[in-house]
């Protein structure tokens, strides 16, 4: 990874708000992060942390009552406020997305062949015959056996793991620069998950793309990511390389999160827990959203909390003292 080149994607002070009956929900609050060329960046967080809304905002896919503020630059182009027409040229072409449940993302009434060729015919103006060849080649690449014949099947004729492969193949048809993967392995069995993670790593190398990988599983992060963003209550709590995050998690939330995971490698008598409940986005405290559950809370936590650089490529948003 070359840090001197400008980042492929740069988000600055991104805010996503929803107007709901009981007030204003701020799902993402002042998020800034960068994605560099051919890296895999993980975004971890629990439900309500804003990880999925961040990505939907990037793609212009927010629900009707959602509003985006701030700036997101992709390859120099501003995505926030871009017209739908222009976005449609980017989405599915240079930025692609795969979702958690492949069955709800594929059209059950259409054969895989027509769903896959449509992408190329629309974005690349390819004739059907050529698009079909290209689609078969891509299915081969994601290791679907007998792709030539199976491309003419319907989604329900594939297993869950195979469907996720079809989704990945479809998203990669246009050779995107950025792939956004929203919990792509959460619904899969561990053995199939291992296959898909290997596949994504191979494809990333081969096609030289960047991946934003959203997950809640720290094990998956350790397996596939280069860097990770930890989110909580709409805030970006900590950004670091995965080696830094797992060896020296400075943010109290990150370290608490890592301690709650039952580890298959070593045993403990009792799991550590994070007390309390996940945050209610309608009633967040002043300042840091993790305050009510934090073990190192201080009066400074309810004020303005700056982003602090602790080490090269290691940034966190917390007032806690750090032993250097």
């Amino acid at each position: 990874m070359d840090n001197k080149k400008p980042p492929l994607l740069e988000a600055r002070d991104l805010v996503v708000e929803f107007k709901v009956q009981d007030g204003l929900v701020r799902a993402v609050n002042g998020l800034s992060f960068k994605v560099y060329d051919s890296e895999i960046i993980g975004i971890v967080g629990e439900s309500g942390s804003g990880k999925s809304q961040t990505m939907l905002a990037l793609m212009g896919l927010l629900a009707g009552n959602g509003k985006v503020k701030g700036s997101v630059k992709f390859n120099g182009q501003e995505l926030v406020g871009m017209s739908t027409g222009k976005l449609n040229k980017l989405r599915g072409d240079q930025i692609a997305m795969i979702f958690q449940d492949p069955m709800t993302s594929l059209n059950p009434y259409l054969k895989i062949s027509s769903q896959m060729t449509e992408v190329l015919m629309l974005h690349k103006n390819m004739p059907y015959k050529q698009a079909l060849d290209e689609a078969i080649r891509m299915l081969d690449k994601v290791k679907i056996p007998d792709a030539k014949n199976r491309i003419h099947l319907y989604p329900h004729e594939f297993s869950g793991g195979m469907r996720q492969r079809v989704m990945i193949a479809m998203s990669l048809l246009t050779k995107p620069k950025l792939l956004i993967a929203d919990e792509p392995t959460t619904a899969l069995d561990v053995t199939v998950q291992a296959q898909i993670l290997e596949l994504l790593k191979e494809l990333k190398q081969e096609m030289n793309m960047s991946i934003i990988f959203i997950t809640h599983d720290m094990g998956v992060v350790a397996n596939i990511c280069d860097r990770v963003n930890v989110m909580y209550g709409g805030w970006l709590m900590e950004t670091a390389t995965i080696e830094q995050v797992f060896a020296t998690p400075y943010h109290p939330y990150t370290s608490a999160l890592l301690e709650t995971i039952p580890n298959i490698e070593h045993d403990v008598d009792k799991l550590k827990t994070i007390p309390g409940e996940p945050p209610n986005l309608l009633h967040l405290p002043q300042g840091c959203p993790f305050q009510p559950r934090c073990s190192k809370v201080s009066p400074a936590c309810s004020g303005q909390i700056p982003l602090r650089k602790i080490a090269p490529r290691h940034v966190m948003k917390c007032t806690v003292e750090v032993a250097q």
Binding site: M162, D189, T191, A194, L197, V221, N223, F246, P262, N263
Partner: protein, 322 residues
């Protein structure tokens, strides 16, 4: 130790479709398994989706019909042949906790109504204030407060809803709890809270727990013995140390190596045994060993006949190669 459940050659089959000119197809969800559950232990049942672990759990609780075989409960009642009166007895001692905590609760009932329902159904003569006392005591046990008693499920978070589900199961003071993926839908920080709660309750109330999960990290943390299932059959059964540190069955090995560990150095260096392909259809299971279609060690013998279970180094293993 006393056996609380003795399962012998248990089969749970489901019939699919069939019509005037079409043959019925049979899903072999659980296909002849034998195991015992001892009093006070936590038995983990693991396997991929479609391996039959939920069908097994639901059959033991009467939510599915047992096709054949026997499951002797507390040495008295055979669940395969139990009458509805006998099932009432069983349900007083065996309760179920579901995966999705929100979907498992009726949104139109208050917490008090939800938790008291099993009590009112199985002990219709109990006095109202006695029921309420019991509800409050159980709520306290699972970490809910008294002032939440008249609220509705929508007012609670996922973790709290699961506490309500646990309270509903515990109000009958059962001996066995069957937890079917009971912590899988919860967030990481809440998952640890519920796991600790289950362990505390087990010690306090001397519960036997059947813990069904696909999360091998959680299973390792909470269980004493582990049963590994694949396509309706037992692959390996043994105590925790035996299964995790002295793995004998190739399927268990593949399963364990596929679990991502929260440690990047380990993840980058470890050898993953990638399994090829997917689970075969339980409608038409392989003729030989059920795992032979994906097993890296399979040969003609494995593909031709089913291996019988054998005991090796205190494990029960179903494999020719072990």
């Amino acid at each position: 130790m006393k056996k609380i459940l003795e399962v012998k050659n248990l089969k749970v089959h489901f019939e699919l479709g069939g019509g005037m000119f079409k043959a019925k197809r049979v899903v072999h969800a659980v296909d002849g398994i034998d195991f015992d559950v001892f009093e006070g232990e936590t038995l983990g049942i693991v396997g991929e989706s479609g391996c039959g672990k939920s069908s097994l759990a639901r059959a033991l609780c009467g939510l599915n019909k047992i096709t054949s075989g026997s499951a002797l409960f507390a040495g008295k009642i055979d669940l395969a042949k139990a009458s509805s009166k006998e099932w009432n007895e069983v349900h007083k001692q065996m309760q179920f906790i579901f995966q999705d905590p929100v979907a498992a609760l009726d949104p139109r009932m208050t917490v008090a109504e939800i938790i008291s329902e099993p009590l009112i159904t199985l002990y219709p003569d109990m006095k109202k204030d006695q029921v309420l006392q019991k509800v409050l005591a159980t709520m306290k046990l699972v970490g809910l407060t008294q002032n939440q008693v008249n609220r509705y499920p929508q007012e609670f978070s996922g973790g709290q809803c699961q506490r309500i589900g646990i309270a509903r199961a515990l109000i009958l003071e059962p001996k066995i709890l069957i937890c079917d993926e009971s912590v899988s839908a919860l967030d990481v920080s809440i998952k640890a809270q519920i796991i600790n709660l289950l362990q505390e309750l087990q010690q306090q109330l001397k519960l036997t727990i059947l813990f069904i999960s696909h999360d091998l990290g959680v299973v390792k943390h909470i269980c004493n013995r582990i049963l590994v299932m694949y396509l309706g059959n037992i692959m390996e059964l043994g105590n925790k140390q035996a299964i995790y540190s002295n793995t004998l069955h190739p399927y268990t090995k593949a399963l364990l190596s596929a679990v991502p560990v929260a440690n990047p150095t380990l993840e980058k260096t470890k050898q993953i045994q990638l399994l090829e392909g997917d689970l075969p259809s339980p409608v038409n299971p392989p003729k030989g060993c059920v795992f032979s279609t994906r097993c890296p060690q399979a040969d003609d013998v494995c593909r031709a006949s089913r291996p019988k279970g054998k005991i090796i180094q205190e494990h029960f293993v179903t494999c020719f190669k072990a």
